[in-house]
């Protein structure tokens, strides 16, 4: 496991985008040879998408031969609802790049048979030859009040600035709003099996409560279920990159990397993945032990190595 600590959320987004750029270009995708990419939604990924769009416009990357799989989607929410992940992906990424519509897979939360839809998704991943790189949305939680109140450093403001440009904001799964996120990946809330595959999940009441402000403060309008890839689905990817930013993710990060594998912090499962990167900002490291952060282990000696990962070798 690699832990990459960067100054702020913007730099995390930039680094992540460069990493995707390198992985895709090194793979040399072409007809019959697609790079398979797993994708998240959310705040930090938003910055990554904007960078990737920029790279695309500069002609540095093409998505013509990239196949994507998104992690999750609400059940029963209209595809073009501003809170849906279809909407997010279309507006923040797909419409700006040259990805072919048939290669962009997002779970259909309106499918008549949701179980079949989940199976179809798993099958599609298999048919595509498995995921090369799964980008894990930061433990999806946007605890705004908590985040701002905790007064994160200057980086916080930049992060918020990105978010505020959006007409919508989303809370994916804010189970412990105001206290801190619970360190889960996609909609694999605490207690999800670490062997889980793509499936229907019923959301915790607290999640609905936290999300209702995006649905006109009407809890009855908040989707009660979601489709999500399982922990094991992500574990099957050749490589996993998890983006974690913000003070409110600090506890989750420490649980994810410093303690044991535990289904109450589902992201900790990736300790057992052969090729996982945690890319985080300094704010997210506040709960980590000093030894982890300041020890020679990471920042000083390894950062040089880490940055080789995103070097443009052309």
């Amino acid at each position: 496991m690699r832990l990459i600590i960067l100054e702020d959320a913007d730099i995390v987004a930039d680094w992540a985008a460069r990493f995707v750029l390198q992985r895709v270009t090194q793979f040399k995708p072409g007809p019959g040879r697609h790079f398979v990419l797993g994708l998240p939604t959310g705040g930090t990924p938003l910055g990554m998408y904007r960078k990737l769009i920029q790279f695309y416009k500069e002609g540095r990357i093409s998505f013509k031969y990239v196949t994507t799989f998104n992690m999750d989607e609400y059940v029963g929410l209209a595809r073009d609802h501003p809170e849906s992940y279809h909407y997010y992906m279309w507006n923040e990424f797909f419409k700006h790049v040259d990805i072919e519509p048939g290669n962009a897979h997002v779970l259909d939360g309106n499918a008549p048979d949701l179980v079949a839809e989940c199976q179809r998704f798993e099958d599609l991943i298999k048919q595509a030859g498995g995921v090369q790189l799964f980008v894990g949305g930061e433990l999806p939680s946007e605890t705004w009040t908590g985040y701002i109140a905790s007064g994160g450093a200057s980086c916080t403001h930049k992060y918020i600035a990105i978010r505020q440009q959006r007409t919508y904001k989303r809370v994916t799964c804010n189970v412990f709003a105001g206290i801190g996120p619970d360190g889960h990946i996609a909609f694999n809330e605490p207690g999800s099996s670490l062997a889980s595959r793509t499936r229907v999940k019923t959301l915790a009441y607290d999640t609905l409560e936290a999300n209702k402000r995006f649905f006109g403060n009407d809890i009855s309008k908040v989707p009660r279920q979601a489709l999500t890839v399982g922990v094991a689905t992500v574990m099957d990817a050749k490589e996993v990159m998890i983006l974690i930013t913000g003070v409110h993710k600090a506890l989750a990060l420490s649980k994810a990397v410093e303690e044991g594998v535990n289904h109450m912090w589902t992201v900790s499962a990736f300790q057992q993945h052969a090729q996982t990167l945690f890319v985080c900002d300094e704010a997210a490291t506040l709960e980590l032990r000093v030894k982890t952060v300041k020890g020679k282990l990471y920042l000083q000696s390894l950062m040089e190595e880490h940055n080789k990962l995103i070097e443009d070798k052309r």
């Binding site: 595809r79 279809h86 279309w90 419409k95 072919e100 519509p101 997002v106």
Partner: protein, 357 residues
């Protein structure tokens, strides 16, 4: 004619949608505005054609609901060459970004109506010129008619308004000495337009503001108005009064300089205070010295030349805006001068300003 189902994407453009200018692609297919999100996820199709707009602006095509003629043509008098006259004007209008219009007849003798009216046919626009939405009559009578202007104080006016509106014909008020009360009664009965506001009606009086008072009337129906904004028939200050009092009401201001049939003014002369840049296309409000944001401001006002008249005619579900499913009638404007670069009707390019490029 384009073959069916060619999916075209205009990119690198800013478009006017919901009163805002947004950086967004415009997709069209089968003469309609397409929803690219649906095309992507559901149909899983890519664009067949991509058009780089080089940062130009796209606005809905302009709709001119009162045009009495132009290019030496007068719709009310030339009863011999009606079709020829319509064609000539329709062709000229597209060079100014006008995609639909209502040929307008002023009050004439009965014989003229019989001769001319049947020959002004509603028709779809294209290379031959702008769409003919129907006749606007500044006076009585029905075939192919879409708007009738009448004076509400006349006997039987209210019955006429109810009758006409029940036939789907819009009623405009004008050529009138009506009081405000009469005007409001007409609005309650279904009238929703004022023809060349301020002209051919009683001047504003504070004890009875007359039809002008409809601008600030407490009737909760939106009343639209046309205005002759050539700076002669209406002082620019009067124009501003109208616009500020009732900002959602002004429509195709531009072409109303042709009222009363006395004029033989080509559309290029129909310059107005705002809206001028889009319709006249020359000596524009936003010359090269004007700041871009001023132009953007003006650009937004082109709603007055597209959405408002469409609403006045009750056709805003298909014309006057760039919503998905609407007719792909639009105009591409230069980002700083706002000159018309090209005009599109039902997804087909019907005019291209080759000089400007």
């Amino acid at each position: 004619m384009k073959p069916k189902s060619i999916l075209t994407r205009f990119y690198n453009c800013r478009i006017l949608r919901d009163g805002k200018i947004i950086k967004e692609d415009l997709w069209i297919r089968d003469g309609k505005i397409a929803n690219p999100e649906q095309v992507f996820y559901v149909e899983q199709l890519e664009a067949d054609l991509s058009v780089n707009c080089k940062d130009f602006l796209i606005a809905p095509g302009f709709i001119d609901i009162q045009i009495n003629g132009g290019m030496g043509v007068d719709f009310s008098y030339d009863s011999e060459n009606v079709e020829e006259g319509i064609n000539k004007v329709a062709k000229e209008l597209i060079t100014h970004g006008v995609t639909s219009f209502c040929p307008t007849m002023v009050t004439s003798d009965e014989e003229k109506y019989h001769k001319i009216l049947p020959r002004i046919i509603k028709r779809q626009g294209g290379q031959h010129g702008a769409t003919v939405l129907g006749v606007h009559l500044e006076g009585p009578f029905i075939n192919n008619v879409i708007i009738v202007t009448l004076a509400p104080e006349l006997d039987g006016a209210m019955e006429a308004i109810r009758g006409l509106t029940s036939l789907g014909i819009k009623v405009a008020l004008g050529h009138s000495s009506a009081s405000l009360a009469e005007g409001e009664k007409a609005v309650e009965n279904g009238a929703n337009l004022i023809t060349h506001l301020f002209n051919a009606m009683l001047p504003f009086h504070h004890r009875d503001p007359g039809l002008v008072g409809l601008l600030a009337s407490t009737t909760n129906k939106q009343v639209y108005y046309g205005i002759i904004s050539d700076g002669i028939h209406t002082h620019p200050a009067a124009l501003r009064i109208a616009s500020r009092t009732n900002k959602d009401g002004d429509d195709a201001v531009a072409a109303q300089g042709l009222a009363d049939g006395r004029y033989r003014i080509g559309p290029q002369a129909v310059s107005v205070e705002h809206g001028r840049a889009y319709v006249a296309g020359t000596d524009t409000l936003c010359g090269s010295t004007a700041a871009l944001d001023a132009c953007v401001h003006t650009f937004r006002q082109s709603i007055a030349a597209s959405l408002h008249p469409a609403r006045a005619l009750g056709i805003a579900d298909r014309k006057g805006n760039l919503h998905f499913g609407c007719d792909a009638d639009f105009v591409i404007l230069h980002p700083s001068t706002l000159k018309v670069q090209s005009t599109w009707i039902a997804g087909e390019c019907v005019y291209r300003n080759t000089v400007a490029e």
